[in-house]
């Protein structure tokens, strides 16, 4: 129920937490688009996401598209059970590269 959302930018890692929903997606979208604007690979930590809706998924998809247009990538890691359920519902679990943790995400960098 808690909607506390924290985003921490640390190099190429963005951490989303709490409810990634209509209330918070405008801020989250800004954060993600700022991150991908730098044209480096971005990894998004979804471990603390307790709720995500279509507006949250849309932010991730939009950022992924921009990253790819730059020849970069946007990967997800430590995806919470709640977030994975919704990614699977959206059939986007095969579209994003999804990693267990940051270490394997960095490993997988081409």
């Amino acid at each position: 129920m808690a909607s506390n959302l924290s985003e921490a930018r640390n190099q190429d890692v963005v951490r989303l937490a709490g409810s990634v929903d209509l209330e918070h997606s405008p801020d989250i979208r800004r954060t993600l688009l700022d991150a991908v604007a730098e044209r480096v690979d971005i990894f998004v930590d979804l471990s603390e996401v307790t709720y995500i809706d279509s507006s949250g998924i849309a932010c991730l998809v939009e950022a992924l598209q921009i990253a790819r247009n730059h020849g970069a990538n946007l990967g997800l890691f430590a995806v919470s059970r709640q977030a994975m359920r919704v990614l699977e519902l959206a059939r986007l679990d095969m579209v994003f590269s999804i990693h267990d943790d940051l270490a394997s995400a960095l490993q997988a960098k081409p």
Binding site: E23, D53, R85, V86, L89
Partner: protein
């Protein structure tokens, strides 16, 4: 599926036995109110016999329908109100949403195609994926819309009409 996905067997032929009202929620059509109703939807779904994963999916579908009323129906009008009714049927959960927004043409509600990798049209896609039916029609008094959704307990997949 033939264009609209609005008319289903449910409202034409209610076969699920008596409808037992569980709870009615009434709130301003604002994004920050949705977190107040999610817990009720989840608990109501559990009470109707759904497991917790199914209940969380039902929360998502209803939340998306509310979002569409907020974003597309009222288009940010501050005085809009949403009424959400949760009811138990022997064979599942029935969720009704009432608004006072301009009338919706169900034919314009077109979920994304599965292969679409674009940011939009996910809300109606989730509703269709999760619920067994979603029936949009005008309120009897014409002053807004009524969205009637149903999710069967046995999980029979979506039936287009």
């Amino acid at each position: 599926m033939t264009g609209a996905w609005s008319v289903t067997k449910l409202t034409q032929e209610p076969t699920g036995g008596p409808i037992e009202p569980l709870l009615e929620l009434r709130f301003p059509a604002q994004a920050d109110r949705l977190k107040l109703v999610r817990g009720s939807i989840r608990a109501a779904a559990r009470m109707c016999g759904f497991n917790d994963t199914a209940a969380q999916n039902i929360v998502l579908a209803v939340d998306e329908a509310c979002q569409n009323i907020i974003v597309h129906g009222y288009q940010g009008r501050e005085d809009g109100e949403i009424v959400l009714r949760l009811a138990r049927r022997r064979d599942g959960i029935q969720v009704s949403l009432v608004d006072s927004a301009p009338l919706v043409d169900p034919a314009t509600i077109t979920p994304r195609a599965l292969t679409d990798i674009r940011p939009g049209r996910l809300g109606s896609y989730f509703i269709r994926e999760i619920m067994d039916s979603a029936d949009y029609r005008p309120r009897p008094d014409g002053a807004g819309n009524l969205l009637e959704m149903f999710k069967r307990l046995d999980g029979t997949p979506w039936q287009a009409t």
